[in-house]
């Protein structure tokens, strides 16, 4: 049985539009952020939610995390309906938002953690064990006594993650946790999430604009556009379905090579000194033979189509 | 100049989007006025006297009517210089090709423009219900009153900019701003007419520049100040304003050198 089950979840925001000139003639503006979304997630899964800005990913996450009520539809997480806000559900759930802080701005991180200990009624031993584990995994011993306002973005996110894992939740919602972070910080957070998902079997839903996050962490991807689910499946299958191609890149050393490249048949282009050919996987053998016979093998690379490009293709369909 | 005008218009539009706040602002005015109206009516009634100091009940009520306007034009809650410096948002003003202080002045002026618009429906309501208690000035006195009000706003600006600029040197001044402005409103006659004070206290209060913010304009409106005294008052307001402006210039220029833009 799925740990998260959402059936026909819809959320429509209604706004009254009025101005001084038409004080008594206000207009209702409705925006459907989530449109009959269905999803089933098993325990321990790490699911990535992708979509352009305004697709409804964060709104859906907020419904699952009890923050907002849906307009219609049913959700069951661990047997609870999120927006009923049963404390037993909230004690087993956490949400991390990349663009918001839940910790106290003017206080050292440890003071915020101590407060959360009381909020979640975490026994002393468990609190110490979890805190020590987070500190070690995220290498943040020096951050415990540092004020949040004087931390870098990466350091703050480490603290936010620590705060979310202190009470050993079973389900975690991560809304763009690596937004604005440098490569090193992003990498360490990904490493941490991957480890904790594997060890603790915590069910995680991640929204991100960074394909690096999704590729590193999620085997399963849900793509959302204009509130509707466009794709739900494996990341590998996603590429297979929407971009069953490979990319052959050839560094063209001189004009002669460029002329040779122009004669090759297929979907190709030249970008500066790089010739790029896109080939269907079932045709790749013949194209590869042709390319390797005409060009220096050291200048040839064969790669998968970037996931970003695949996603872009889906939204541009 | 165009960029400053554009900024003024944008600020005005930005403030005017807070439509429901307008209604609440009018309610605030009414609450304040009504409490003091009831209080002084009860005082005059139980004292059996027609005059307190030189004020009749109508003069006292009119005094509070004017004070309500002046409180709405109070700068202290409408200057963002201190909080912008503290939060680091002042950086946005410094990196643009404009005078940061001019811009902060403009945003406050646009807020004041909204307040004046807000005051009109309140004034209309008061006239409807307390017409008998509001003494109207002559046209000439009304003009004198308007000029006094404008000079008072200038003086208030300079005082508050000084306080807010202290943020560069001593950090967040929110607490001090509230404290100092409360002191000022007391010395200025914002709580009650200074004429009600015992003579020795009154002489102290009258020697300070703060009376020009509330008591002086209200008494110009009431016609209790002669024309020659008004001219002298204006000269003093200008001198005090210039003194505070110079103090501000010093605090600000030394403060800029210390500014680090942290907080964001």
């Amino acid at each position: 049985m799925s740990i998260i089950s959402a059936k026909n979840v819809t959320k429509t925001f209604t706004k009254l539009d009025y101005n001084w000139r038409n004080l008594f003639k206000s207009k209702k503006i409705e925006t459907t952020a989530v449109n009959k979304l269905n999803i089933e997630i098993e325990e321990g899964e790490f699911v990535g939610f992708l979509g352009p800005n305004g697709a409804g990913k964060t709104t859906f996450l907020k419904i699952l995390s009890s923050i907002i009520h849906p307009t219609s539809g049913e959700v069951s997480i661990m047997g609870y309906t999120p927006w009923e806000r049963d404390f037993r559900y909230l004690s087993q759930m956490a949400i991390v938002m990349g663009q918001k802080n839940q910790l106290w701005w003017d206080l050292p991180a440890i003071d915020s953690f101590n407060m959360l200990k009381e909020v979640y009624s975490i026994p002393d031993e468990k609190y110490k064990k979890n805190l020590d584990k987070m500190v070690e995994t995220l290498d943040m011993k020096s951050l415990l006594t540092k004020q949040l306002r004087s931390m870098s973005l990466g350091e703050r996110m480490k603290c936010e993650l620590t705060a979310s894992f202190l009470h050993s939740p079973k389900v975690i919602f991560l809304d763009e946790p690596t937004i604005g972070l440098d490569v090193v910080s992003s990498h360490s957070i990904r490493k941490f999430l991957k480890k904790i998902n594997a060890e603790e079997k915590i069910t995680m839903i991640l929204t991100s604009h960074y394909m690096g996050d999704i590729e590193a962490l999620c085997k399963r991807v849900v793509i959302v556009d204009k509130g509707k689910k466009v794709y739900d499946g494996g990341l590998a299958e996603l590429k297979e379905k929407y971009a069953p191609e490979k990319k052959i890149e050839i560094y063209l050393e001189n004009l002669e090579e460029k002329e040779k490249f122009a004669k090759i048949e297929g979907n190709k282009k030249i970008v500066e000194n790089k010739g790029i050919i896109r080939v269907q996987k079932h045709e790749i053998a013949s194209v590869v033979n042709q390319v390797f016979s005409q060009f220096n093998p050291e200048n040839i690379s064969i790669t998968e189509i970037e996931t970003e490009e695949v996603i872009g293709k889906i939204f541009n369909k | 100049m165009k960029k400053y005008l554009a900024y003024f218009i944008v600020s005005f539009r930005s403030f005017s989007t807070y439509k429901a706040d307008f209604l609440v602002g009018i309610i605030f005015n009414l609450v304040y006025f009504f409490i003091y109206f009831s209080l002084w009516k009860a005082i005059y009634s139980s004292s059996g006297n027609a005059l307190i100091g030189t004020y009749t009940l109508a003069s006292t009520i009119t005094y509070y009517f004017i004070i309500t306007l002046i409180f709405r034009l109070d700068i202290s809650g409408k200057i963002w210089l201190g909080s912008d410096v503290w939060d680091g948002y002042f950086t946005n003003d410094l990196v643009k090709p404009w005078n940061a202080i001019a811009v902060h002045t403009l945003i406050t002026l646009s807020d004041l423009a909204i307040e004046i618009m807000l005051y009109l429906p309140f004034a209309a309501i008061i006239f409807m219900f307390a017409f008998n208690y509001i003494l109207l000035p002559t046209f000439a006195m009304f003009i004198f009153f308007l000029i006094t009000l404008i000079l008072g706003i200038f003086l208030n600006f300079t005082i508050n900019f000084c306080i807010q600029a202290l943020t560069f040197h001593f950090g967040d001044q929110e607490g001090n701003t509230n404290l100092i402005n409360y002191i000022i409103s007391f010395f200025a006659g914002g709580i009650f007419p200074l004429a009600f004070l015992p003579e020795n206290l009154r002489n102290i209060f009258m020697s300070l520049p703060f009376r020009y913010l509330f008591d002086f304009p209200a008494n110009v409106f009431l016609g209790k100040i002669s024309v020659s005294e008004i001219w002298i008052g204006w000269a003093q307001m200008l001198i005090w304003g210039l003194i505070f402006a110079l103090v501000f210039k010093f605090i600000y220029s030394t403060g800029l050198k210390k500014y680090t833009g942290t907080g964001r």
Partner: protein
Amino acid sequence: MIFRYIKINLVLFKNSLIRDSQIPGHIVSSILFRVLELVVSLVFFKVIFTNTPDLAGWNYYQVLFLYAFARIIMIVHNAWLKRGVQSMATDLIRKGEFDFYLAKPVDPMVMVSIRRPRIYNFLSLLFLIPLAFYAAAKTGIPIGFDNIFWFLFVGIIAFLLYYFLTVLVISPAFWFVRLWSISEIMDRMNTFMRYPVGIFPEAIKITLMIVFPVMTVSYIPAQTLFYPPNPVWILFIITVTALFGLITRLVWLAGQRNYNSASS
């Protein structure tokens, strides 16, 4: 369950001490502000009572006690709950930070209310409580143990009523996100608490004792102290508090259901 909230509250008090002690200037200016407020009020009452022997049958010391008691209620509320409640209108809903309170296993209304105490504000009680004692003693009215018992009982209920009113007033923020000024409504309305109800016309008395019972908060406890405890008044304040507790809770829950977070 209550014990858990007490524990959370203690941690928040400790955090507040740590946070606020980083800017000792705030504490000093805040205390100075409160002292000055008290001095100004005392001067104002002196001005009033120089011109009248009583206000609606209440002598100087009774009015002074009423003022002190009203201030005590406000100070305890300000120190403990005000900033948290106000932040609903100024920050939490507007920026979507209320999300975190909904996603935790605590009652959001309680958690938001207790989240930002200002411990040092309690210091004002050091001069308000002695003032209240002094005023009560000097009224010349005999005060028995039953007066004191019922006064304390009714006083606690009055504090609850004041809290419910502040939350009720802030709740429109769920629907009117940009309504900043509702965070200041109670600051204006509580001015009514300082004066005996008798100075106001009947319509105002009824409105502010029953419809929006802010005057009930101070007047009935003070009345209970100075006059024989009246079961009708005691039952009245209990009923009004329970009713407003229920209304506030229902409005808050409705607001919570309507909450749409904020875009990130």
